[in-house]
């Protein structure tokens, strides 16, 4: 697995667009530090499930509970940081 942050950011954006069927959005439209929910990308709580699935299915990283989820799923950067933290150990 390539843990280069730039590669991970790009991959995650592509997975999000694909899994959530975000039409008319490209990876370049998603800012690395922008909130994923409500403002920013405008995802809702049920979309969080898809993000959890992406983390586990493509990176083998589990989000054990809602508390961790709230921290990890804030932005593309926080997702990338968590993957690197978990896989780097």
């Amino acid at each position: 697995m390539n843990l280069d942050p730039e590669v991970l950011r790009r991959e995650i954006k592509e997975y999000i667009i694909e899994e959530l069927n975000l039409e008319d959005i490209t990876p370049d439209d998603i800012e690395n530090d922008a909130p994923l929910f409500v403002e920013g990308l405008g995802l809702d709580s049920i979309d969080a499930l898809e993000l959890v699935v992406i983390m586990e299915r493509y990176y083998g990283v589990k989000i054990p509970n809602e508390e961790v989820g709230r921290k990890v799923l804030q932005s593309i950067n926080t997702m990338v940081d968590y993957i690197i933290e978990e896989k780097g150990q």
């Binding site: 069927n21 809702d44 709580s45 049920i46 969080a48 499930l49 898809e50 959890v52 699935v53 586990e56 989000i63 509970n65 809602e66 989820g69």
Partner: protein
């Protein structure tokens, strides 16, 4: 059979005439199987065929029945559920009035009170519809 038709209302929030599952016939932690007879009073018949949204509802109710049954002793008992999204839907054929459909659902992923579920509806051996649904449960 695990849950008979006369008791299914204890495990799903819907009430007649919106009940789209009769019996829970198999259930383990992640996989449930239900049956449903399509009678002439079904609200979602169109020219004696059951419409596709009723099959999706059937998958959701099958999920609810299985989840409620398998977690009936949990400290968190389900109260209601909401359909949050549908993905990868493939419709091959619609069932007709007088037929019995069998529905298999499997929990692909679970996070807190949200579930990603794969559902397949059969009439006999024939696969009628398959899709993934996102469900959110309330406790």
């Amino acid at each position: 059979m695990i849950i008979e038709k006369k008791h299914i209302g204890r495990y799903i929030p819907q009430r007649d005439p919106f009940i789209m599952v009769d019996e829970l016939i198999q259930a383990n932690d992640i996989r449930f199987v239900t049956k449903f007879y399509i009678d002439e009073k079904n609200l979602f018949l169109d020219h004696q065929e059951l419409r596709e949204f009723a099959l999706i509802e059937n998958i959701c109710q099958s999920s609810a029945a299985g989840l409620s049954y398998t977690r009936r002793n949990s400290h968190k008992r389900f109260k209601d559920g909401f359909l949050g999204g549908i993905k990868n839907l493939k419709l091959n054929c619609l069932p007709r009035m007088g037929e019995t459909i069998t529905t298999e659902v499997e929990i692909i992923h679970e996070f807190e009170n949200m579930f990603l579920i794969s559902g397949s509806v059969y009439q006999g051996e024939e696969l009628l519809l398959t899709c993934e649904v996102k469900l959110a449960a309330t406790y």
